[in-house]
């Protein structure tokens, strides 16, 4: 369909000496003047200059032009410029078509005649196409001035604080009873050996006390609807069985509770109660009742906590609640979990009591951990010899082919801590040492200077069969030192596994709800690896921290700040403009086969069950055209790239 009887103006740019004289611009203009519907064709020195643009504007106004062709540089360069000029002159900006005769003709063609002939073809094609252009508009949609951050680890906290400082309301959703994430479990942090709690707890407190941050702990995202600027997020608040408004956090309930349960926070190395706070600095400090282990819930008796709670805060009848909040943007900060080394039976994890994962060892080192920070074996004695194995579950095609990035530095931090706290010998078994980061390589040198044995070789086996009677009761680490090509059998008392990082459990559900794709390893995909590292393919949804891939604390904090920055930039603008060049599905042609729905990468197409036709959500569509190409009746078509426009263009090129 033609929207108006076309009256076309064609403008051939010389671009100084860049297009002319290689392309005979006057000749091309004369050729264009003879084309169907062309009212005026001119050549000019610099079309992008202010007089060049004025030329177009004047012609539109005085000669009633309603379609404009500019043959000049790449549309990637100046399409915006000329669209603005059209708009200024009062015609729809999409009535412009450009012919790229500089980057794709004058600069790449030797022969002047060839260049001129090619330029004529591309101009004729642009003319043929522009006849069928449609006037397009986009919608301006207001943006909600609040956001949701999913995950309350250091990434989520940092993102929430950054955005809240800018004055936006943040809903911070954390599934555990306390915010803090993995960082709250760590003892020291590499390479500066700051105490993790000393730098983390102030951040947690700040987040909790910030007037613009609402904490939703012990909560999960239950549903997400809407689109950029206008999400509706359902938050499932699991019952704590404690009225947080009454609880003073005195902790009497915990001391009175008779049930003993293995502590998740301490990686199973200690016990907690059925009513508990995961760790002393937990935020909020309102405990939760673990229904599965509470005597009242399982056996119907006890209620000791209720009896001793002076604030009358125990609420056994509390129910799960769903709270719906509005959000202009969403930040995913769901973090990671550590690799479970049990399948690597050769390392004996789970079989030998003195084989620990890195997270377990963090707790052993921690002052609030099972040994109050003393480095002791299960028999209460300090170890004399400790082995640290790198790349457990990482760089291993059977488990995770990728490098987990942090484990080398974590392992060397452990080596340092062992040397600092005991007289034990430390043997590190690595494949390659990866220490790229500020002061990281220096830390590596420092650990070597502290007398740690560095062995390049993947450990073959950890066994309790000793080399000789002297080492009875100890573990033996068998590995080849690939630098000296010798097989080593090292008797040790303790083995630490530098386990890799993998996406947190539940990330798949979050991904599905938000429509954000994950890579083959399950990490969330950023929009562009280099240029859009915290954006996702879903507008208004950003990534912070390890959910996008393994990273250390500095990188996580930097990325979280970036994600918050992107989110704030969106919220600050106040409105989002939908794209104009998007899909449209003609309900009179649609057969309801839903093929378009299957191919749409943005879940931007819904189905109207009543009329049995597919319907495009204009706020979600990005105009990729997957639907258009898959639709045999062309019921689905991309505005500005319709079948007719493209085929007219091609036909003119092949005259």
């Amino acid at each position: 369909m033609k929207y108006e009887q076309p009256a076309i103006g064609v403008y051939i740019c010389h671009c100084g000496m860049n297009i002319a004289p290689k392309v005979d611009v006057e000749n091309v203009a004369a050729f264009a003047a003879a084309l169907e519907h062309v009212v005026v064709a001119r050549d000019y020195k610099f079309m992008c200059s202010s007089p060049g643009q004025s030329l177009i504007i004047k012609d539109i106004r005085e000669r009633g032009l309603n379609r404009i062709i500019v043959a000049s540089c790449s549309p990637r360069m100046h399409e915006k410029t000329f669209r603005k000029a059209c708009e200024q002159a009062g015609i729809n900006p999409h009535y412009l078509q450009m012919a790229n005769i500089r980057e794709q003709i004058s600069w790449v063609t030797k022969d002047s005649n060839d260049a001129t002939a090619k330029a004529k073809d591309q101009v004729a094609a642009a003319v043929a196409r522009v006849v069928y252009h449609a006037p397009l508009t986009s919608l301006e949609i207001p943006v909600k001035k609040s956001m949701v951050v999913v995950g309350g680890g250091i990434a989520g906290i940092q993102a929430a604080l950054t955005a809240a400082e800018a004055g936006y309301n943040v809903h911070l959703v954390e599934r555990e009873p306390s915010i803090g994430g993995h960082m709250a479990k760590f003892d020291k942090t590499f390479p500066t050996l700051d105490c993790a709690a000393c730098i983390m707890t102030p951040k947690m407190v700040e987040a909790a006390q910030h007037p613009d941050i609402t904490l939703h702990t012990y909560s999960e995202v239950a549903s997400v609807e809407g689109f950029v600027g206008n999400f509706k997020v359902g938050i499932r608040q699991k019952p704590r069985y404690i009225d947080a408004s009454k609880c003073t956090g005195c902790g009497v309930c915990t001391t009175k509770c008779p049930s003993k349960v293995i502590s998740e926070f301490d990686q199973g190395l200690t016990f907690r109660k059925a009513i508990y706070s995961p760790f002393p600095q937990a935020i909020p400090n309102t405990p939760v009742i673990d229904r599965e282990n509470c005597l009242y819930f399982t056996k119907g008796r006890c209620r000791a906590c209720e009896k001793f709670c002076e604030a009358h805060a125990i609420a056994f009848d509390q129910k799960e609640e769903i709270l719906t909040v509005e959000a202009g943007s969403i930040i995913i900060a769901t973090g990671f979990q550590t690799f479970d080394p049990t399948p690597l039976t050769q390392y004996g994890y789970g079989r030998y009591p003195e084989v620990y994962t890195s997270l377990e060892f963090e707790r052993i080192n921690n002052a609030t951990g099972p040994t109050a920070g003393k480095l002791l074996m299960k028999n209460g004695k300090p170890p004399e010899k400790v082995a640290i194995i790198h790349c457990v579950g990482s760089r291993d095609s059977r488990y995770h082919a990728y490098c987990s990035r942090v484990c080398c530095m974590v392992s060397m931090k452990f080596a340092h801590l062992v040397r600092e706290k005991t007289n034990a010998e430390v043997w590190e078994f690595y494949i390659d040492i990866r220490s790229p980061g500020k002061l990281y390589e220096e830390f590596y040198s420092r650990v070597q200077e502290e007398g740690v044995h560095m062995v390049r070789g993947r450990v073959a086996e950890v066994t309790d069969i000793p080399e000789n009677a002297k080492n009875e009761g100890r573990l033996t680490v068998v590995a080849e030192n690939t630098l000296t090509r010798r097989i080593l059998r090292v008797p040790v008392d303790m083995v630490l596994l530098g386990v890799g990082l993998e996406p947190a459990k539940g990330a798949d559900d979050i991904g599905r709800m938000l429509g954000v794709q994950r890579d083959k390893d399950g990490w969330f995909n950023e929009l562009h690896a280099k240029l859009a590292p915290v954006k996702t393919a879903m507008s208004g949804i950003f990534l912070a921290g390890c959910c996008q891939g393994p990273k250390d604390i500095p990188d996580t904090v930097a990325q979280a700040s970036a994600a918050a920055g992107e989110a704030v930039s969106l919220l600050a603008k106040g409105t989002v403009r939908t794209l104009a060049e998007i899909s449209y599905i003609d309900p009179d042609l649609c057969s309801g086969c839903k093929t378009c729905i299957e191919v749409c990468p943005y879940t931007a197409i819904g189905f109207d069950e009543g009329r049995r036709v597919a319907v495009v959500n204009e706020a979600l569509c990005k105009g990729c055209g997957s639907c258009a190409a898959a639709c045999p009746s062309s019921a689905a078509a991309i505005r500005h790239f319709s079948g007719r426009q493209i085929m007219e263009e091609m036909e003119a090129l092949l005259l």
């Binding site: 006849v131 057969s591 086969c593 093929t595 007719r644 005259l655």
Partner: protein, 363 residues
């Protein structure tokens, strides 16, 4: 081996099959039955939806004629769940098309009993009417007489997928004496339950049926190879392709008859191909002339590009062509190439993804 039962015909093939279908209604196994039946005005069997057990006595689904591929009609009944249980008597190519239409969300197959015919082929309408005028009991005669069997249409003559896939019950005349009994084989649990409800005793299938099937398969395979060779010779250049389709009237009957061309409106009837006079004049100027209507070759090739992966080789596109262009001969041959390329077989399995909806770097 699927449970098998004999349906006695005793020289009355059509009425025995109709009787079997009648029982589906009287025993309340199905609320309605879709089966081919002649109308009061012509012997040509039309797809007919029966709800009355008395009326269904007229059904004659084994008649060697089919003016339609019934899949489209079946899909119109099965467009959405109605709460009614519907039995459908269909040829293998019709079931294949129905499966493809289901993948394309044009219908739902819940709550159906699909009775597939092991098919010896259909005659063109005119051939059937002529043969019927000479033989009052053509259906019975057809299954006994190889000469009559050779009068089936060209697409059926090269069909190697004459055994139904995706049927609950298959009706078998191959390797049986149709005037004594035909076979009912339960292909699914649904089919077995129906046979049991109808009071059939199941047994193992009689010997010799397999040989008959294999003989037919061999015959069809060699006919297909020869036909493909001939069609290739007639279409292996763009110039020959023009000659082949030269008499095409752009009537689009082929696409209307095609059971898998499911578009509500063909793109060639939309604005995309409604050319302005300037465009037609420009086209004419290219070679000094242009045939009108334009886009004839474009239409046929695009239809192949869109639907060849799903072509069920029923041959109805040829049957309906007013210019007698053997559209199906070339369509079926190209379809086999495309289906081999994608390792896709239309109608084989509901869960087999449409090849263009699987995205990887393959092919």
């Amino acid at each position: 081996m699927h449970p098998f039962a004999f349906l006695k015909t005793d020289g009355h093939l059509s009425s025995s099959v109709a009787g079997f279908l009648k029982k589906l209604l009287t025993d309340k196994i199905a609320d309605a039955v879709l089966a081919a039946a002649p109308t009061p005005y012509s012997l040509l069997p039309m797809p007919t939806l029966f709800t009355d057990p008395e009326q269904i006595e007229k059904a004659n689904p084994l008649a060697p004629a089919a003016p339609f591929n019934t899949a489209r009609q079946a899909a119109s009944i099965l467009k959405h769940e109605t709460g009614k249980r519907i039995a459908l008597v269909l040829r293998p190519c019709e079931i294949r098309a129905l499966v493809e239409l289901t993948k394309l969300k044009q219908c739902v197959l819940e709550n159906t009993i699909i009775i597939g015919v092991k098919c010896l082929g259909r005659m063109e309408n005119a051939v059937y009417l002529e043969a019927s005028s000479q033989n009052a009991n053509l259906t019975q005669a057809f299954y006994d007489d190889p000469v009559l069997q050779d009068r089936i249409c060209s697409s059926c003559a090269i069909c190697t997928r004459f055994q139904p896939v995706h049927a609950d019950i298959s009706l078998s005349v191959i390797g049986m004496s149709a005037n004594e009994s035909i076979g009912l084989s339960a292909e699914t649990d649904v089919g077995l339950a129906v046979l049991k409800q109808l009071g059939f005793e199941t047994c193992d299938a009689p010997e010799g049926r397999k040989d008959a099937v294999n003989r037919l398969l061999e015959k069809r395979e060699s006919a297909k190879t020869a036909a493909f060779e001939k069609t290739r010779d007639k279409t292996d250049s763009i110039e020959k392709f023009q000659r082949y389709f030269a008499d095409c009237l752009n009537c689009h009957n082929c696409r209307v008859a095609c059971p898998v061309c499911y578009c509500r409106e063909c793109v060639f009837l939309t604005d995309v191909f409604a050319h302005d006079p300037e465009v037609l004049l420009r086209r004419a100027s290219k070679k000094g002339m242009v045939k009108l209507p334009t886009d004839t070759t474009m239409f046929h090739m695009t239809r192949m590009a869109h639907m060849a992966h799903a072509c069920v080789a029923c041959g109805h596109c040829s049957s309906v062509c007013p210019s007698h262009i053997p559209v199906a001969d070339v369509f079926i041959r190209v379809a086999e190439e495309i289906q081999n390329l994608y390792a896709y077989e239309p109608g084989r399995d509901l869960s087999e993804a449409i090849p263009l909806l699987v995205f990887d770097e393959g092919v």
